[in-house]
Symmetry: none
Subunit: 190 residues, 4 copies
């Protein structure tokens, strides 16, 4: 027998993201994805049980890559502000460097499929970071506001900027980014 080719699974994940980028989530068909991955449509069903499984699996893998990327600079020895800054910067970098991957995560998150994934599992890697935020609140460094709201101030602006076409004009501008981070930090810090 031929041995199962793990690269083929990866190729299908990448092809999925590519096709979704080019055709949109709604028009991404298994035929197009298979062709882009260089395999027969039927082969897809060896590695994934159906289209939803392919889309969901691609989401999980990509979302994990994202958290790995974002949290790689996290260091509990660093100050809270440094950690938040690193978090913020890495997120911006990811969205800038891997726009297709980020767009895929975004589109999947807004699709009905999101309701079938175990979101708790995907939140797990962020545990330490959440802990650091909680500590910050306890120590009076951060305002005592609901965590989701705090996160919305940290996350939303960078995503908004990176996503919008207007964001293009901010590319590579370290100053603007620092300014944005300052705004966010001022908003949440006491």
């Amino acid at each position: 027998m031929r041995h199962r080719d793990e690269t083929k699974k990866q190729a299908l994940h990448k092809a999925t993201i590519q096709v979704v980028k080019e055709e949109g989530f709604a028009s991404a068909s298994v035929n197009k994805i298979a062709k882009k991955a260089g395999v027969a449509p039927a082969t897809l069903y060896i590695y994934f049980s159906n289209k939803d499984d392919l889309l969901t699996s691609t989401f999980m893998v990509t979302k994990t890559e994202l958290s790995d990327y974002i949290l790689s600079d996290f260091d509990s020895a660093k100050s809270l502000k440094d950690n938040v800054h690193a978090f913020w910067t890495r997120l911006y970098d990811y969205v800038s460097n891997y726009p297709d991957d980020y767009q895929y995560i975004d589109q999947f998150s807004h699709s009905p499929l999101i309701q079938h994934v175990d979101t708790n599992a995907l939140e797990a890697p962020y545990q330490e970071f959440h802990k650091a935020l909680s500590d910050g609140i306890e120590q009076g460094v951060l305002k005592d506001i609901p965590k989701p709201m705090m996160l919305s101030f940290i996350l939303a602006p960078v995503v908004f900027l990176a996503r919008s076409r207007l964001g293009a004009s901010l590319d590579n501008s370290a100053h603007d980014l620092d300014q944005a981070f300052s705004l966010a930090w001022d908003a949440i810090s006491d």
Copy 2:
């Protein structure tokens, strides 16, 4: 194109939003939309040139309803903070009261179709509000930061909150909303 029976066009717009809500953007077919609107599929093509036209038209109309709703309390005689507060509140109300309409705007905005709409035209109603912000910067009330970044701090949190399931826990909580607005205002004001 002008047609006598404007009612039918509206029905199709509403049906589009309904079906997208129930089936998702990807699974919203013209047959289902027509049936939901109570007309024959062929009738749809009297009012719209094709499916894309229907979807885009629905987006434009809904987006205009949104701006009308949001800006209805704007009053150039009021203070800047009051206007921003009204803007913020009305947005939150819209997302809360018309979740289907907002979801449709959201989904359409993330689809490839968005590239074919004249975004300038949709921004027009916000002209006065933008002017007020510019004045605020000039008068030193607001920080001198790029407008999109400023808007991201105003808009993103409320959208984030309203959209996320976590947002559910904040429903009807005037205190939380005011707190969020304070955060946003603190972030952008000098």
Copy 3:
């Protein structure tokens, strides 16, 4: 609009029987059926909700044609033996003259689909005939044996003969048929 074409539904029924005859029940695909009926595969779904519906509907219609054909000579004024003889003869004629229709009924009856049809409804036309048999038992003309067993003696031989390739050698032989009927009648009559 075009008016719904009832002949098209009939054409699909006939095409179904034809394809099942030529390719077998297992290999009868909607594509082949549609092509044989001279319509696009999609058209089939205007008249039938799915393949099972097409197959089942064809069965019901054909089975009704069969009972109409078989019972057309039934006359409650005639003697029981004459009625049974007419029943027997008509069945043999049907199987001989419409072998494809009969084969379709046969194949469908042996498929899993048969479990989803209301067999009671299909038995309704035979009510009078069953009544006559019951009367015959009461009057001592027929043996007092379970009705299904009695029917098996009436039906099975003619079906068996007509179906088997051996039956071919009996075609058109009025004498053999009469002989077979005599056997059956002797078996069930007192």
Copy 4:
């Protein structure tokens, strides 16, 4: 073709019958059959040249098991009536005890594949029994009617009873069975 591992071939035969029972003749795929037999789909092609070969081979083997079973009590020393009675009883037992096997024979016999099997070979085991019937005719014990017609009276009722759902009510009823045999015997005997 001869192969070492006859066990595997048997397993595939049994699996074929099982899958046909569970899924129907039309939906019995080689993948399902292989899985049920506990072998890889490719292995199947070592023992059988293709799917038709597998189905046909399964038919031949099962049909031979049936004739072995039916004829096991045949004894040329016994009276004709006893032999016919044994034949009849064994058939009923087989259909009752091995409904899946019988159903498979039945379904295969009604499929187009039956046209490719050498039916003469399958009739061979019945030679002695046929001879006995012929002797019975010669000796005036049986009516002088075509053999297939005679067989139809012997076989058809038991099959009809055993197969129909009505037959269920006759289960385990020795009296009913004897009654049915008497009817058949009366029909064919002089």
